[in-house]
Symmetry: C2
């Protein structure tokens, strides 16, 4: 076997390992699971020179992952909210231990393919797709035709530490409001949001604002015109306190968004830390080329 | 104790549970860990009516999480790349079992606060902050002053399935290139990217394009002017194949980005599925108000 043929074979072996299909439905198509029907291209010398060493000749697919893929196919047949067969039924059907089935279902749950409903596990609906726009959670969710809800966890006055003071454009130690609310979508707890605002700038907030309503709507009544924001998005694990409040599993990856929004004068309006269940949320951005 | 006072106490109890500090440094400040130095605000009747029932009077903080917070404080003292004390040393110092220390360090690793370096565990640097802009990985990383790298995993020709065909604006079954590359930042494997392009539109790709270089730079030489893109971002678990290629742990949350980019005529250029290590990457977006 020549070096060339060996490399081609290695590439083919790697790509024949199954790609895990991501969960469904959004304006952006999930392009992962394309079945190769045409033959693998002849590889040019330039590609070969660049191709990757160190990929195992044959990948071993863990048993739980094979079971996960089979259950995933079963889920495609079940409607949203339909209870899954029991662990024992799956174990018998696939000839594996209940422990293996449990691990597969655990991953499907972390990814939002199934969810708990009372004491049973049911097929989950698609993830919510929230646009990354300068709107509040309430406004964003309404655009998707979902029913937003907020529940107050904490409303307190703090002294700004240097990082927060810098974000809000106030002196370190200046008084800030901290408003912490649980986020709901159609009665389901999906996130936790902490908003920080300057007390000097919004002195009437504690008296006038109803925390069950949209904060952005309130801020607009005070004359704020939102202009732009910087937002950072990353994945984190929920802390025990957050797990307790959101009612989720400690191992569940969360999406953390940090936002600083500004008004038309370029003055900071708020700093926000929002935590969303990674199994229930995705975010979309519309990107415009700088060159065009 | 009046109902009012009881509610205030409950809110105070909840907010006195520690908030987990997120990892450091970015243009957007992490606003989470603000120590309350001013007294908790008197709560107005409107807030009370909206405040949340069902939060436990006292949260119990798991032992591993207490240890995690202590190690996190130790990490603040250590420089990037400095090896951590051993599990045994931590266990003795904090009076807990090595198992408890191991769980704490595992979470710190999943969150990118520590990382493996050879056989030891070292303090990690801050996450890379990649802007969500219509640029390629190579271009985005260069802007941050990091050295991007790409290694070819697969380059093949496929027949488009209906979802991919719709994304690329071609007939189902039409030939598409699939280019799969490992992404490196400063020699470290940080992600895996699959790009799909129409063979009819870019017939010379296999012959002319060097997969170690920027695809966007190549596409521009063929006359493409990028105009806009839709991108979706979510968190997923890596599949075994992806774990093998990226060299990461199966439990590590990943950031999955799906992109469809278009040219000035509104024609789709590419569909891209990029997977980034959640412990090494964050993304930022600049949001412009629609109303302004």
């Amino acid at each position: 076997m020549t070096g060339h043929a060996a490399r081609s074979a290695r590439l083919a072996d790697v790509s024949s390992l199954p790609v895990e299909p991501p969960p469904a439905t959004s304006p952006v198509p999930h392009v992962a699971p394309v079945a190769p029907v045409a033959p693998v291209l002849p590889v040019t010398p330039a590609m070969l020179a660049a191709s990757r060493a160190g990929v195992p000749e044959r990948g071993e697919l863990p048993k739980y992952f094979q079971v996960k893929q089979k259950i995933d196919a079963v889920l495609d047949e079940l409607g949203q909210g339909t209870p899954l067969p029991t662990e024992r039924e799956f174990a018998e059907r696939f000839g594996v231990s209940r422990m293996t089935v449990r691990q597969a279902i655990r991953e499907l749950r972390l990814e939002g393919r199934v969810q708990r409903s009372g004491r049973s596990t049911v097929a989950a609906g698609p993830k919510l797709v929230q646009p990354l726009i300068l709107a509040s959670y309430t406004e964003g969710l309404r655009r998707q035709g979902r029913r937003p809800g907020r529940e107050l966890v904490a409303f307190e006055q703090l002294a700004a530490d240097p990082a927060l003071a810098s974000g809000l454009g106030v002196q370190a130690g200046a008084p800030v409001f901290h408003l912490e609310r649980l986020l709901f979508a159609d009665e389901e707890r999906v996130g936790l949001e902490s908003t920080y605002l300057s007390v000097e700038r919004f002195p009437a907030l504690a008296a006038d604002f109803d925390p069950r309503t949209s904060l952005y709507a309130y801020l607009r009544t005070t004359g704020v015109v939102f202009a732009d924001a910087d937002e950072r998005i990353e994945t984190v694990l929920a802390s025990p306190r957050e797990v307790q409040l959101i009612g989720t599993s400690p191992a569940l990856p969360m999406l953390l968004l940090n936002r600083v929004s500004r008004d038309r004068d370029g003055l900071p309006v708020e700093c926000v830390r929002s935590l969303y269940r990674g199994d229930r949320f995705s975010f979309t951005a519309h990107l415009i080329a700088e060159e065009s």
